[in-house]
Amino acid sequence: MPSITYIEHSGTEHRIEVPTGRSVMQGAVDNNLPGIDADCGGECACATCHVYVDPAWLAKTGTPGEQEASMLNFAATAEPNSRLSCQIEVSEALDGLTVRLPEAQH
C-alpha cells in the first residue's frame, strides 16, 4: 500500500498507509488526522482539505483543475504548491508522497 506522509503545521509527522484509489484527503480523515477538515466530503466544494505538496512531488500529483483552482483562489493561506487533497487520488506512483498542512483550514 502506498504510504503518504502528512506533516501538521506544528511539525508533527504522520506516516500513513493509504489504499490506492482513495484520495489523500480520505487517507487523513480515515485515520482521524487533525488539520484536514474536509467539510464537503470530497466534492471540491469547500477548500478545507487544503495541503501543500512537497515541490519534488508536484509533477506526479499534477496541477489543480478549474473548479479546484477557483476554490483555492480563496484559501487565505494558498501557495503555488497548494492542492485540495480530495482531488489527489492515491496510486502506487505516489508512494512516499509528503504533504504539509496549513495553519488552519477555512
Binding site: 467539510d39 464537503c40 466544494a45 469547500c46 473548479q67 477557483s70 476554490m71 483562489n73 480563496f74 488552519a104
Partner: protein, 416 residues
C-alpha cells in the same frame, strides 16, 4: 394575538397535488411547520417546479447531494443581482444592490479576495480575545431568577458587538448595525420594521452616509485589519461606486448578523429541547467542538440561496430553462436522511458534524464560517463556566421570512 388555526400539516403535505405544493410561504417558517412539506418533496419530487407563489414561479432543489451539485454549477446557475440575485424574492430592478455574494466570476472572485484577510488565521486569533472579553461582560450582567429574552440580551448584543469590532466602529453605535441588518432582510408590511421600499432605501442611505465618513478617514490612513480599511485599500474594491459600497456593506452586515444571532438563539433552544444532550455537554464541555457545527446545521440560519439559470440545462432529470429561478433549500438538505443520519435529532457528538449545508458550498461558501463557529464556541465555553443550566421557560417566536430562518423571542430564566 390571533390564535393559530390548528392545521394538520402532515396531512396537507401528503395530500396536496405535487404541482400545487408551494414551500415558499413565509408562514411555514414562522409557524415552524415546514418539515413535512420538504420531506414530501425530497421523496416525490427532489427537483420540483412550483408555477405559482407569492414570489412567482421557481424550482426547488431539496436533497443534500443535488444542492452540492447545484452549488458547483455556478456557470449555468448565476448569482448575479441583475438577474434577481440570491434570494427567492426578486427586488424591483432599480433597487437591486450590487454585492459580491450576488456576482459571478471574475468580479466576485476579485472582491471576495479583498475581504478574505479578515478571517486569516492570525486575524481570527486576535479577534478571539476581543470576543471573549465581550462575551464575559454580557454574561456577567444577566439577571438571575428572572425571565428575559435571550435573543435580545445575548444573541443580538453579542453579534452586533462582534460586527462593530470587525468594522472597527465605536461600540456605542453597535445597535445601528442590527437596525440596518433588520431593514435589509425585512418583508415590507404595515407595522413592520419597514412598511415599504422607500423606508428601506432611507435606512440604507443613512448607513451609507455613516460608513462613508469612516471610509474617508481610513482611505487616507495606513491599511488596518478592519473591513472598511480593507475595502478602501484593496485594488478590487477601492474604486467602488457608492451603490456597490452600499451593497457590500449590506452583505457584510447581514452576513455576519442574523445568521450568527440565530445560531446563538437556536443553540439555547435545542439544548432545552434535548435535555439528554444538555446533560452530555455539562458532563463533558470538550463536546463544544462538535456541538457548534451541529447547532449551525440544526438551525440552518438561511433557509435557502437562490440562483438563476443562464441557459437551458438538464439537472437531475429535470429540464430547467434559461431565466428560471432555482432555489437551493439548505433547510431541507440538512434534514436529508440519505446524507445525514437521524437528521431530525440534535446530537452534539456527531462523527462528521461539519458536513452540513448551512454555509453553502462552492465559490460562494461563507467567508465567515470559522469566525461564526469561533463566536459560538467562546460563548458556550463561558456559559458552562458560569451557569449550571439556563432554562427556556416559554414558547419561542419566529421570524416571518422565507430567507432568514430565525427566532425573535426566546424567554429564558437562569436559576440562581
Amino acid at each position: 394575538m390571533n390564535a393559530p388555526v390548528q392545521l394538520d400539516h402532515a396531512e396537507i403535505a401528503a395530500t396536496t397535488p405535487l404541482d400545487k405544493l408551494d414551500v415558499s410561504d413565509p408562514a411555514l417558517f414562522r409557524d415552524d411547520v415546514w418539515y413535512p412539506y420538504f420531506r414530501r418533496l425530497r421523496r416525490d419530487a427532489p427537483v420540483h417546479y412550483c408555477a405559482e407563489s407569492m414570489f412567482g414561479p421557481y424550482w426547488s432543489i431539496t436533497t443534500y447531494k443535488d444542492i452540492v451539485q447545484a452549488e458547483l454549477a455556478h456557470k449555468v446557475f448565476s448569482s448575479d443581482s441583475s438577474l434577481g440575485g440570491i434570494t427567492i424574492r426578486d427586488r424591483q430592478k432599480d433597487l437591486r444592490l450590487p454585492m459580491f455574494i450576488a456576482m459571478d466570476p471574475p468580479r466576485h472572485d476579485e472582491q471576495r479576495k479583498a475581504v478574505q484577510p479578515i478571517v486569516a488565521p492570525g486575524n481570527l486569533a486576535k479577534l478571539e480575545h476581543i470576543i471573549r472579553a465581550r462575551v464575559c461582560e454580557i454574561l456577567d450582567e444577566l439577571p438571575r431568577n428572572e425571565t428575559f429574552n435571550w435573543v435580545d440580551k445575548v444573541s443580538i448584543e453579542l453579534t452586533v458587538s462582534m460586527l462593530a469590532t470587525l468594522f472597527d466602529l465605536p461600540q456605542e453605535d453597535r445597535r445601528k448595525l442590527s437596525y440596518w441588518s433588520d431593514c435589509a432582510t425585512a418583508l415590507p408590511m404595515p407595522g413592520g420594521i419597514i412598511e415599504n421600499e422607500a423606508q428601506r432605501e432611507a435606512a440604507f442611505a443613512e448607513m451609507l452616509a455613516y460608513f462613508t465618513t469612516l471610509w474617508n478617514a481610513r482611505v487616507n490612513a495606513e491599511p488596518r485589519p478592519d473591513l472598511v480599511s480593507m475595502l478602501a485599500h484593496a485594488p478590487a474594491t477601492r474604486d467602488m461606486s457608492p451603490r456597490e459600497f452600499m451593497g457590500n456593506l449590506v452583505l457584510l452586515i447581514v452576513g455576519g448578523n442574523d445568521t450568527t444571532r440565530n445560531s446563538i438563539s437556536g443553540g439555547m433552544l435545542f439544548l432545552n429541547q434535548f435535555p439528554e444532550e444538555y446533560a452530555k455537554l455539562r458532563a463533558n464541555p470538550a463536546l463544544i467542538e462538535t456541538m457548534v457545527p451541529e447547532i449551525i446545521r440544526y438551525q440552518t440560519p438561511l433557509s435557502h440561496m437562490r440562483r438563476t439559470a443562464t441557459a437551458d440545462v438538464e439537472f437531475a432529470g429535470q429540464k430547467i430553462r434559461a431565466g428560471d429561478k432555482v432555489v437551493m433549500w439548505y433547510i431541507s438538505g440538512n434534514r436529508d436522511d440519505t446524507a445525514i443520519e437521524e437528521p431530525d435529532r440534535f446530537i452534539i457528538d456527531r462523527p462528521r458534524p461539519r458536513q452540513h449545508l448551512s454555509f453553502g458550498f462552492g465559490i460562494h461558501r461563507c467567508v465567515g464560517n470559522r469566525l461564526a463557529e469561533m463566536q459560538l464556541k467562546i460563548l458556550w465555553e463561558e456559559i458552562l463556566k458560569r451557569f449550571d443550566r439556563i432554562e427556556v421557560v416559554g414558547p419561542e417566536q419566529r421570524v416571518y421570512s422565507t430567507f432568514v430562518h430565525g427566532i425573535t423571542e426566546l424567554p429564558v430564566r437562569i436559576p440562581g
